[in-house]
């Protein structure tokens, strides 16, 4: 990192710095009409300057909020930077949210300006415009389908930009002085959390929060301007934003925007990112794809794959961590790398990955070890929007799959007597927007942030998270009940997409299961099992037997753990529909909203506990366009075998 960068305390200042020192190096790439187009740092900076002047001329003032709604596009990021140039506050919103969900943040933050990607987002904003009187300017990037929209609020991004260009030419000093006014302690951005229980909260993060954390981790992991990142998660998610906006501006690396959500796999192979962050479900989906395709492969290929994956499981991780491994094993792994792991990494687009992170929720040990054993340096990190992500990261040479690693430099951890994790670091957020009550509950006078997560620090100093502190409950007999822990164990089976466990203050644990359509359909096809659709497949006895096997394996596992052996799953049912964020059953980051589901499907829960064998359900579903419909079905309820708790003197 060049000298002087330490004094640059805002993103616009960092951006101008990169435009000076590495002006011709790529800053953002985007695949457009099948060809990767590059914005250099200088072009990026110019775009931001012009856009900022355009926005200023349109009336954007310091402290105003600018909403950004769209997939990863260079212009979403230039919008964020342009707002920050003027001391205004960018508010990225989830692009897949339905219109009604956008109304709250827009009203709450009194958003006056929005930059959106396309017609889809424009339509949503126009729909809720009457509820958001503050919203006066909407700029759209992609003009397709928008030529005949006559609303006074609408204008194209291009028109705004060209006005900005003229205004910048007339008076370039204006913007420079605006940028110079920015201070590290100013608000950099407002991120709305997905809100598992209540209305979303706007998390206010300062420049110092984001820049300090990004810098510490970039130094710690030796991230340089040679690294490349593919940005494919929603930019409104802090996990994406920090890797595709904050950290590139600190380290000067290049981010790449895929052509569309469907082309991510291809784009990833073409780009070959070196630095990667994705939630577990992305890794899971990739592995499912590989497994499904391997199942269809010819016998010799299958043999090769299974043989060398066995080798990788035994020694792959040890080799990556530089631990001693025998010569013959090393040779076998080398051969495997040549024949299986190398080509596999290539197919996954992971050939050049130096560091891959996963976080946001627990990752299955098998899944995690799979990637590490084929030579992808996958590591877990722990953090949230309120902590500017980085709290703890697994170090390169000491990865323990069931923990999230030790705290990164600058982070202090402690626990309440109820096992709730408290964090203090320079990355802790300033406040919840317009919500002093919530701020006070989450952040105490000494600056400790109450995460709401329960966990402990193990003997090696690694942090282990078990569940949300408030979700940890107890069965009637006093057994510890950690629903997420059980659900995660179930979800680690490829056939189970989601699971919801009930048991707090009850005599036994019961579960809802969502089958994974892709995996189960493939399984059914192999057995010549005909079915007409999701509902039919989910109600098949064969599928129930398949799921029962998974549940019983989990039970066998649980029987080994003394404290929770009694929380084995006694009864379960397979839901007739996929849990969906549009029906508010999942958050936008796809976490199950257990309480909401419990209330919505109360008759099903009751049936699980009253011993009935079937139950009738009528449910309302919401389609993508916001309309609602009804579906009804008869669901079967199945019992699962429980295992006696392991003997106290069990051999280790």
């Amino acid at each position: 990192m060049s000298e002087g960068i330490e004094t640059l305390d805002t993103f616009p200042k960092l951006l101008m710095h990169h435009a000076r020192v590495r002006g011709d190096a790529p800053a953002i790439r985007e695949k457009d009409l099948g060809i990767w187009q590059t914005w250099t740092w200088r072009e990026f900076a110019d775009e931001v300057r012009f856009l900022a002047c355009g926005l200023a001329a349109a009336g954007l003032k310091p402290g105003d909020h600018l909403a950004l709604i769209g997939a990863n596009r260079p212009r979403i990021y230039s919008g964020i930077a342009a707002a920050q140039c003027l001391g205004a506050i960018p508010v990225p919103l989830y692009q897949d949210a339905v219109a009604a969900e956008m109304a709250f943040p827009l009203r709450n933050a009194e958003v006056g300006f929005a930059i959106v990607e396309d017609q889809e987002q424009v339509d949503k904003l126009l729909e809720i415009l009457p509820q958001c009187p503050s919203l006066k300017h909407i700029y759209y990037d992609d003009t397709r389908g928008l030529r005949h929209y006559k609303h006074a609020e609408l204008e194209s991004y291009d028109a705004l930009l060209s006005r900005g260009r003229e205004s910048y030419r007339r008076d370039p000093a204006f913007l420079e002085s605006e940028m110079a006014k920015g201070r590290g302690s100013d608000t950099a951005a407002l991120f709305f959390t997905s809100g598992t229980t209540a209305a979303p909260k706007g998390v206010v993060l300062t420049y110092t929060n984001l820049i300090e954390r990004s810098k510490v981790v970039a130094d710690w992991e030796k991230i340089t301007d040679k690294d490349v990142v593919l940005a494919f998660m929603p930019p409104a998610w802090i996990g994406q934003n920090i890797f595709s906006y904050a950290q590139p501006l600190v380290a000067g690396y290049c981010i790449c925007c895929p052509e569309s959500a469907e082309t991510v796999t291809t784009d990833m192979r073409e780009i070959g990112p070196t630095y990667y962050f994705a939630p577990p479900r992305v890794f899971e989906a990739l592995l499912t794809q590989v497994s499904v395709r391997m199942d269809d492969a010819a016998a010799p290929k299958k043999w090769l794959y299974h043989h060398f994956m066995g080798v990788a499981r035994r020694v792959g991780e040890r080799i990556m961590e530089g631990k001693p491994v025998g010569f013959f094993q090393r040779f076998q792994y080398w051969l495997g790398d040549l024949l299986v792991y190398g080509p596999l990494r290539n197919v996954l687009g992971m050939s050049r990955i130096r560091i891959a992170y996963t976080g946001g929720e627990a990752i299955g040990p098998d899944l995690f070890v799979f990637y590490r054993s084929i030579g992808v340096n996958l590591k877990q990190l722990y953090g949230s929007t309120e902590t500017s992500v980085f709290v703890s990261i697994q170090p390169n040479d000491r990865v323990k799959p069931d923990t999230v690693g030790p705290a990164v430099p600058g982070v202090e951890l402690k626990f309440t007597p109820q096992r709730e994790l408290l964090i203090r670091s320079p990355g802790i957020f300033k406040e919840y927007y317009k919500n002093p009550q919530a701020t006070m509950e989450a952040k105490d006078a000494e600056g400790w942030f109450h995460t709401g997560d329960a966990g402990y620090i193990d003997a090696d100093g690694h942090l282990k998270i078990i569940d949300r502190a408030k979700d940890v409950g107890a069965l009637k007999d006093g057994t510890l009940f950690a629903p997420k822990y059980l659900e995660n164990k179930l979800k680690f089976f490829p056939y189970v997409k989601e699971a919801v466990c009930f048991g707090d203050q009850r005599d036994k644990v019961c579960a809802f299961i969502n089958i994974d359509m892709e995996a189960v359909a493939n399984w059914a096809e192999k057995r010549n099992l005909a079915y007409s659709g999701y509902v039919d497949l989910a109600s098949r006895d064969e599928v129930y037997a398949l799921v029962r096997e998974c549940v019983e394996k989990v039970n066998a596992d649980l029987a080994q753990e003394k404290e929770i052996a009694n929380s084995q799953i006694r009864r379960f049912l397979i839901l007739h529909k996929e849990l969906d964020a549009d029906d508010e059953e999942l958050t936008r980051t796809r976490k199950v909203r257990r309480r909401f589901i419990g209330e919505k499907y109360a008759p099903l829960v009751a049936a699980l506990y009253d011993g009935s064998q079937t139950v009738h359900i009528e449910a309302q579903v919401r389609y993508e366009d916001g309309r609602t419909g009804k579906i009804s079905a008869d669901l079967k309820i199945a019992d699962a075998r429980a295992f006696p708790p392991a003997a106290a003197m069990r051999a280790a």
């Binding site: 009409l33 099948g34 397709r144 389908g145 030529r147 005949h148 052509e259 569309s260 469907e262």
Partner: protein, 263 residues
Amino acid sequence: MDRGRPVGEVLLSVEGVSLAFGGVKALNGVSFDVYQHEVRAIIGPNGAGKSSMLNVLNGVYHPNQGTIRFRGEEFRDMDSHHAAKLGIARTFQNIALFKGMTVLDNVMTGRNLKIRCTFLEQALWLGRARREELEHRHAVEEIIDFLEIQHIRKTPVGRLPYGLQKRVELARALAAEPVMLLLDEPMAGMNLEEKQDMCRFILDVNDHYGTTIVLIEHDMGVVMDISDRVVVLDYGRKIADGTPTEVRGDQKVIDAYLGVAHA
């Protein structure tokens, strides 16, 4: 309907067209016209002569009687190659793509008539051939972007589901930059979602490129939703012509579709 481009002059007029195969009269004195930028539907029960009509417009069949004028010029000795040159492109009821070729290559074939350089220049990959290839590739990529088929760009067509194949066929027809696009049952065999997508794309094409669209379709809902005017054929004769609402209320149309008691 909120139209982008105003419906313009008469683009195509069909007057008293008759077509017979031996003793079977497929078309019997059919007359109608198509305005610029409109979406015109031809509907009718099975065997009404819809596909025959489309094949006449396309130059595949030659009418025994009657005249057809396209942009004021009369169709004489028309064949499908000539029709394509005039700016008439079409899709087929039973998809006619090159199954073994990728989506990109298939759409590129739609540019065939636009290629100016010679076979030799292409074989030797000389300057002009290369420049042209780039231009055509650019045009094709815009269509791929327009119809949202980027993710299957390099996939052989034979491996795609039916709905997507239909979209690729539309892409290929669009690649020829047609003035008039003939769609032969663009929604046949599709599920509801695919139909909705296809409707949106047809309207988008009509709006964005200003292409005049003549379509044959069985699905009455679709026809009524997206067409400006509808011609109804039955046993080779025109029995109605007008806006969807007019046609829907027409007794002859109802009889033709639902049958009438021959007492």
